[in-house]
Symmetry: D2
């Protein structure tokens, strides 16, 4: 029999920025019996989740659900809309933006990377990893593209490796200002259902997301929200596509079915997650956004009190999903993480790529609350001290002051 | 479909001194299919749990498992060994000792109550509720009972209403010193599997316990560990007994069965709980005792830092299971509890009986760890402040210093 | 980790007359987190289950829920209403009636047993175990009791050891006809929620039931439905009672709470079970009764086709819960059961007491359906043949004809 | 809260040829908490499932696990090994072979279809859908391919739409006999863990499989077992690949990790499934193959007794996974299925593609046993009669005779 016996007692604190802790309510839903994916019950389930997930993306248009993880949905967005050699404009917000660019290149696209042009005192080599997308750079680049060779602008909404949440509406406006026909494709894998996101209102053509973040599910399903313009583009795009092809899925989704075997048990979880997120008694999506905003503020209060730097250098784009905590020079962030894990049964996110070892990440997404964060912050504070980091003050104290000082948001 | 939708997000912190949080591993075991309680599989299960629970009680003699809650096991201990009008000597350690006495009276016994004779500054009316059993008082009383009219000495090992863990071996020695034949009956409902307890070595005749504390199960099964002397006494005792009667149960237990329908699914949970508690890789029972001891110390460090009084006035009998926190005069402990519950999704134990409103209780039993307690203490500290209680300092800070200052006990 | 590895693959067919198979939906409900039994959530849960269970008993009066198995509820009924030495009139319908009588005797009551007076060809020594209660015998006996020394008439509604469901209303009328003040106490442990049962309308004073039969829960909770007359009687009854005492429970139930720790997780299951049983879309209680009636008919069609005798010799009281199948002379019913268990992964009920080895029992109660019964009947038919029993014909064929011949009851 | 309330009571019989019923033991494993996919626990889990799944494929070489459904694994096999325009030789065994060919075409390959050349009385238009792969046709075609323009031979091991299990070793020998360098790629999505399958011994280059059939998991993970020759081919293949690319996955799998987020909870299920399938006490893989073989024989005995045709016309390749049942002319198979579903709560597989409406499929795969099949067959027999189909005799009777006549296979 399978067990996970790494920890003797009590509940592990999973404070990485995803996968986020799966609520028992969702685990229970996932244990419903697997059913015939061609039967009438399945059709009812399919229509239900398709309706719910549209509300979460704030769209009236199709949301394609893949029985695959988020990386697959990145590929799907590109494979459905692009042709071999197409030029895509991407923006380096961090590790995940970089991975998406790498994928675009592997798929045979010409991927161009924009990045923040300013300097950065603490991380000169990763200045672009401390900020959101600069929409003006995109506008400038698109204006220069007189032949409209750029077929898509691809940006990450919430960069999971840094804790910066870019302004997607600003990117939309930049494209419009440049009168450029490129598609706007946005990765909101970690932003969806935590940070406000409006697929239709913000004029996004393809939004990519996944299950294991704000939706509070295990990994294993992912999404493409698709605008009519993107659907149109997919009809003539030439990259080979079969598993990822939107056409057959969108067609069969009208009855609540899929052309191939969907992962039924995760769809049960998705139905439950939508119910939880949209429940009026807990404030609906707006309530979820408010809760995450509050948690981010509390965590940042702690980081500031410790005298440590927040990875995201631009307060305007602080993430409600996670906070990157930079270490003083000479401190290995992963050594701190190891202490916190082994002594205090709490997982923190590692620094990825360019910032490996220089920072760790505290997730405050999904199924969370004030005291869970207080526990995580206490683990961090003890771990930092045990690792020999000199702290300016108690972050735990500062977070308690913050959480106690203001009313909980409605239903939080 | 049933849901518990009182809390919008994240996990509730159940920090009452029982029922304690049930680990997922036990909930999973409880979801095994109900089987024929007369079939071969059940016999294997029965023998397994009977063997495991004996190890937890540290006894070689029978442990009777009831499909009933702990209150029933109190009744069972009395009904099996006493006759109408028998005289039992009980000791007032707190609310649960008082309830047991009330039960003895209802069952037609003559129950005599001993209590601490000294004074108490903070709680003169409840001085006996701030200490453990004074074994010398028992010895004195037994010596005076020349005719041996007292048939049993009944004490509570860990008084759940106060946070005092009495010295049972001292009680045994007191009875022996008085050369008195009374049975020794001990309620270790909340002590078992948290505080060291040795049924055989300490010469206890009947130990009563329940599932929902250190055993980490939901309520619903309870126990009588029974010495040969107690078994002998049960043969001539005259209180009516049928459901509680040891004789048929002990007989049928030899094959792993019960005379009436046992609660199969809780027995699955019990099998799992025994595996968890006895697992060598987490230190076995000794590891569990060490973990609880450490948690108690951490919580008391916090209470002291706040400048509040610990309910238990005798450091020699501080409980590793729970800590009673006394409020300053004029503060309603239940008002504090309400704030902590509503704002911070954390349940604390209420003051019971004589100390209603004057204290609250923090449970640190069962499936717990350092960060869970840090969360609970943060909730308390914020709640106390919001309730207007002036604190001398930060208990959270003190607890972090304690937990970080010393190595975790082996496998904790 | 706990496993039950007696069977290599597929689902075991648990066709004993209880514990009945627990639906996954109830197991899922039982995995909700254990909560503070003194907190507001618990109060809401308590009021909900108390309301639901009253509907199942078809009563307006209190239903006392015990955290104990059904045998305990037998004791509770007697302990609350009787005084030492009281005379109770019981009726021998089978093994469980006999056990209840044995309990009454152990509790110090004077228990008198009535039994069927006619003969029986197949089982002369157990003629009374093949029929229901003969109400006229009760009337006759009560009329003879001029001094009203009989304090209670105790009968079993559905005798789980035989498959006879007695006419409780006839018993009520017999008592009334005799103008006798005795209480009417009815064990409907296995009848409730399968066979029609009307606590109020039939004038029952105490109905005893349990969780592991028609309610589809694991064993561990049991019930006393209590009439005002019984409550009145309990105020002066003299048997010692504490754990079982109605008074404090009924009092605290007004707020949804219990005087001692209730078994929270089974109450979650009970809430779910009530929802399932009362759901209008599946026909409510009437739908449940109709389904069980139909299953019983199908199983009896099979037994008749085999040319075997149905244990219950009176078609007027055939049980919708289980069917006793008598073996031809010389065939050991338990040898048949063993073959069916080992070869076909199906548990059947053993013959109890007087009919040990002479019959087996097929349960058709709780969470069941036509094809589950077809599987069980196929297992029986193959097992009977393998055991060398000559069958007159195919019971499976007869059951298929029955189930296919008539429409399923509404929503069955 | 999510419920599936289509059926009032009892367990649904899911007898489609996949998704197969998920055992509770696997559902329980899937409810373990989601963990950090970069932490040490995950590495241990990863190594464990990678080792187990190799044993199931009977290979020493890498098995790539995708967080995607089986259709994705088809695409992965092609995308990793082929270049645009490559010629692949496929074989029309049924609907799934046809879908795979359609996919190959969508991906830009030149897919050639071989088919059975003989006639068929009952289904002249679908003769190739009633048989397995004719290896001699493949040999003949490969011999004709002097330039070795054919890059891969792609066949389906167990054709889920028909119930024919092709002889893969014969295909290997055909390729060898033709001295042709083409890769051998085999879809064993529904065959794996039910029908004997030996990736290494049979010289297969890529085996594709999925979770929701013999592995008894919900849909959502799929596999490519990869020979060294296939790995070598992937290094120069030119179809775009990113999500499906073997290289990074195989590299990171050495530590038990994946380059992107794996679906942790289904991997828990996979670990459990491997334990169950490989358990010596139930006969290991050989035991699983024997059980499925026996079930197939039992079901076919029933079909023959009904006087209906088995879809697979070649007894040498009868499937142990499912049986296709052909309807008499004029009977709509889906009308029969509907009756069986609505009246008897049993799902059967529909006829797909060319055989739509002409047959239904009975799954006997995964977590099954004799009585479950008896139930399904009883449902079919009643449903067929209710649909007006004249049956020659009782299939239920024939299956009982078969199951009772021979000993259960070891541990079955």
């Amino acid at each position: 029999m399978l067990t996970l016996d790494f920890h003797p007692t009590g509940r592990h604190f999973l404070q990485i920025p995803g996968p986020s802790p799966v609520p028992d309510r969702i685990l229970r839903a996932m244990s419903l019996p697997t059913i015939d994916h061609r039967g009438p019950e399945f059709g009812a389930l399919g229509l239900r989740v398709l309706k719910g997930i549209k509300q979460v993306f704030q769209t009236q248009h199709p949301v394609v659900i893949y029985p695959a993880s988020g990386t697959g949905a990145w590929e799907a967005a590109l494979a459905n809309t692009m042709s071999p050699g197409d030029h895509v404009l991407m923006y380096e917000t961090g590790h995940f933006a970089s991975l998406w660019k790498k994928m675009a290149t592997r798929l045979g696209l010409e991927a161009e990377f924009l990045a923040y042009r300013g300097g950065d005192d603490r991380m000169p080599e990763a200045a672009s990893w401390r900020r959101g997308v600069q929409a003006d750079l995109i506008e400038e680049r698109l204006r220069a593209d007189r032949q409209h060779s750029i077929k898509a602008v691809c940006v990450v909404h919430n960069e999971t490796s840094t804790g910066a949440t870019s302004d997607i509406l600003a990117v939309r406006r930049a494209i419009d200002a440049a009168k450029h026909p490129a598609l706007l494709m946005v990765d909101s894998i970690s932003g969806l259902a935590c940070a406000d996101y409006r697929h239709d209102e913000w004029g996004v053509d393809v939004t990519i997301s996944g299950s294991q973040k704000g939706l509070m599910l295990p990994p294993g399903i992912s999404f493409n929200a698709v605008s009519p313009k993107a659907l149109e583009a997919s009809r003539s795009a030439k990259l080979p596509k079969a598993f990822w092809a939107w056409d057959e899925i969108v067609e069969m989704n009208q009855g609540g079915y899929w052309p191939y075997t969907p992962n039924t048990n995760l769809l049960y979880g998705l139905a439950e997650a939508c119910d939880m997120l949209l429940a009026a008694e807990h404030g609906g999506l707006a309530g979820a956004f408010a809760r995450h905003g509050r948690w981010g503020e509390g965590v940042r209060a702690a980081v500031r009190a410790w005298g440590l730097d927040i990875q995201c250098a631009d307060p305007a784009v602080y993430s409600p999903v996670l906070t990157g905590v930079m270490m003083p020079d000479g401190v290995d962030a992963d050594a701190v993480r190891k202490i916190v894990y082994e002594r205090f049964d709490c997982s923190l996110g590692t620094g990825l790529g360019k910032v490996k070892g220089r920072m760790f990440r505290i997730g405050h997404l999904g199924d969370c609350n004030d005291l869970t964060l207080m526990a995580a912050l206490a683990g961090c504070e003890m771990g930092l001290k045990l690792a020999g980091v000199k702290l300016a003050g108690s972050g735990v104290q500062a977070a308690m002051e913050f959480f106690a000082s203001q009313p909980a948001p409605k239903a939080a």
